[in-house]
């Protein structure tokens, strides 16, 4: 298993074809509809793509670096959704101005990251570590852990859906070139780009990222040099679950509602994203998220009846073309 470490940082990778899929899809869609409709759908699709990326990046990171496929990932997404509901219930932000609203959202993101990361550490300690090196039991135990997490969230927050109105400052939008652009979607796009850039920089430009990549490459050597590889991996796991919770915040605010099934609904999309992108690949995850977001929007507009099968169809097409995903990691 060779990790993200070997991925080239620049977008000009070895194989340019996968990067052309996204523009090709956009051009094809443009040919099939009016420009204003296309622009609206494209912006909305990119925003959904960024939300998918936020929810999926943690899963692909944990898999790429630790070789653990966390089937409880959806539970951490749900956790983030309930945290934002709790923060909004404690601090009603609808009255304040834009700054106050953004402050509350930032607070919710931070709280979700802390809760997701903290619980991730517990999860790693109690479950993941016990089944290291046994892939079958690893899948089973994360599935079981995910059920417990989801059910505990229902015990704590109730089974009824919680309404989560977005703050005034994040509602509505503006019109550019005949296309309606929602403010919240713009914010989500920005957040997605920031997280993407931060993940890349952290892995490729910091000492910590260097150590993590080194530990993936040769754990014994890193330990022989006096670093605790185990702590590094624990950190990776916590970062992945924290990102899942952040994804949950973003989805909950988008949906305007929180249910305990949020994670279970979305984990399917997340899996499709990481399969299309290539398991463990950060850039692949980003590319596949945008692809899925756009394809869903275009198909939903052009042929609503086919919308249900878009994700599966896209996955099948990509797998037939590139069985290992669009931007797979080396080796394996």
């Amino acid at each position: 298993m060779t990790p993200i470490a070997r991925q080239p940082l620049s977008l000009g990778g070895r194989d340019p074809l996968p990067y052309l899929v996204l523009p090709a899809l956009m051009v094809l869609a443009l040919a099939a509809m009016k420009f204003s409709a296309w622009l609206t759908l494209t912006v909305a699709g990119l925003a959904v793509g960024c939300m998918l990326f936020l929810a999926a990046i943690g899963l692909t990171l944990i898999f790429g670096l630790m070789d653990v496929l966390n089937f409880a990932h959806g539970g951490f997404v749900t956790l983030g959704a309930f945290i934002v509901a709790a923060v909004f219930a404690a601090l009603p932000a609808s009255g304040g101005g834009a700054a106050a609203a953004l402050g509350v959202v930032a607070l919710a993101l931070a709280a979700a990251a802390v809760a997701g990361g903290g619980l991730g550490l517990v999860f790693e300690r109690l479950l993941i570590r016990r089944v290291a090196g046994a892939p079958l039991r690893q899948i089973l135990i994360t599935v079981g852990g995910g059920i417990i997490l989801q059910q505990m969230l229902i015990v704590l927050f109730g089974a009824e859906p919680l309404a989560l109105p977005r703050p005034e400052a994040l509602r509505g939008g503006f019109i550019i070139a005949g296309a309606a652009v929602e403010r919240y979607r713009l914010m989500v796009c920005l957040l997605g780009l920031v997280v993407y850039a931060a993940t890349h920089l952290a892995l490729n430009r910091t000492r910590l990222g260097l150590l993590i990549r080194a530990a993936v490459e040769n754990r014994e050597m890193v330990e022989a040099l006096g670093f605790r590889a185990e702590r590094l991996f624990r950190l990776v796991f916590a970062a992945g679950t924290a990102l899942a919770a952040i994804g949950g915040v973003v989805w909950a605010l988008y949906a305007g509602m929180v249910t305990a099934d949020l994670g279970a609904d979305i984990i399917i999309l997340i899996f499709i994203v990481v399969i299309i992108g290539g398991l463990g690949s950060v850039s692949g995850c980003f590319l596949a998220s945008l692809l899925l977001g756009l394809a869903n929007n275009y198909v939903g507009f052009l042929a609503p009846k086919l919308a249900l099968g878009t994700d599966i169809a896209l996955m099948l097409i990509v797998l037939l073309w590139r069985p290992r995903g669009l931007l797979p990691m080396d080796g394996a």
Binding site: L69, P135, I147, I275, L279, L319
Partner: protein, 358 residues
């Protein structure tokens, strides 16, 4: 022993438990009269086939699928759709055959598509597929009846209103459902023995070799993808057969009873608790789990009532939260008891056999 394909239970306690289950199921309509007991016994039979088919995949081949309910559902919907449109044995058999055929084709396509890459892809793709089929069954009202599902009538011989004999036999009035029960019993017994034959054949040995070390199996010249794909096809076929029996027994089919994710968790638990990689374990696990489903929920309700007033405890013990307890049991079994009941008993018997006699 020939009938069991030379695969002995391995431990006297396991043999006794299995014999007890077999006898109890064979005599269930006479031992425990009443429609509820009959329904529980039929459910145990059907889930023995379903869990055993899943064990072929999980326990013997070592790949995790989340689409076993999908094939179960396809079998059930095959029968349901055929009996909604037509009636009689021909419709029932054609519906079951169609469900099995579609399941086998789908499993083959999925296996060839995903197992080429990595076994873990298979897990993720089956999860996506299972969800997709569940949504499809709820949305495609014209064919599947949506969330409400389909209610239909079965051939007269196994319908509730059928009374072939005027007088009771051994104190039991023979009705259509009793005949249906024995039909299911016969099919289950046959299916279980066939599965036992499969896992103890050379093909089954190769599956276990792949589970233990895919690279070594490949190096020895076995085409792992072909074997894995065949295993998933066989598992899908038997699951669809179980689904067809479920539809025949319940006389209705809806997404919740055949396609839901919690059903998938049930199957996982049956195989893991019973013991992965021993078909006897799957049979034991199915029996334990179906019984627990019928008796655990009332137990939780009683405990919740007793715990009134204590912080959080009533919410934890709410019967609606039984999935929480199943999840907890599941994690504990996987962590501390990974061989399950049958596997642990066998390991103990093997250890005793190897110990030096004094």
């Amino acid at each position: 022993m020939r009938l069991l394909s030379q695969d002995r239970p391995g431990h006297w306690l396991l043999a006794i438990l299995l014999a007890a289950i077999l006898l109890a199921l064979a005599g269930a309509p006479f031992l425990l009269p009443g429609t509820k007991a009959l329904a529980v016994a039929a459910r145990i039979l059907i889930f023995i086939v379903l869990a055993a088919s899943y064990d072929l995949l999980l326990g013997y081949t070592g790949i995790v699928s989340f689409a076993q309910t999908t094939f179960f559902g396809l079998g059930a919907y095959g029968v349901a759709i055929a009996l909604t449109g037509g009636s009689g044995w021909l419709a029932l058999i054609l519906g079951a055959a169609a469900g099995i055929a579609v399941s086998v084709a789908l499993a083959l396509a999925m296996a060839l598509l995903s197992l080429r890459v990595r076994a873990i892809f298979f897990s993720m793709i089956t999860l996506a597929l299972a969800r997709f089929v569940q949504v499809l069954a709820s949305e495609w009202r014209g064919l599947t009846g949506g969330e409400d599902g389909l209610t239909f009538s079965v051939p007269r011989l196994i319908a509730p209103g059928f009374h072939p004999f005027a007088a009771p036999i051994l104190g039991l009035r023979i009705t259509g459902p009793v005949i249906a029960y024995y039909l299911i019993f016969a099919v289950t017994l046959a299916a279980f023995l066939i599965l036992l034959r499969i896992v103890n054949s050379p093909f089954g040995r190769v599956l276990q070799a792949i589970r233990e070390n895919p690279f070594r199996a490949e190096a020895l010249g076995y085409r792992t993808i072909v074997h894995r794909a065949l295993a998933s096809v066989l598992a899908a076929g038997f699951a669809a057969l179980a689904g067809a029996m479920m539809a025949m027994q319940l006389r209705y089919t809806n997404p919740d009873t055949t396609l839901s994710f919690s059903l998938m968790i049930d199957i996982l638990l049956m195989v893991v608790i019973g013991g992965m990689g021993t078909l006897y374990g799957a049979a034991l696990g199915a029996t334990v789990m179906v019984m627990a489903q019928y008796y655990l929920q009332p137990l939780l309700a009683a405990l919740a009532a007793a715990a009134q007033g204590i912080v959080l405890l009533p919410a934890l013990l709410d019967p609606e939260r039984w999935l929480l307890w199943l999840g907890l049991i599941f994690v504990l079994v996987v962590t501390f008891f990974p061989a399950g009941i049958a596997g642990s008993l066998r390991a103990r018997a093997n250890a005793a056999a190897r110990a030096p006699r004094t």
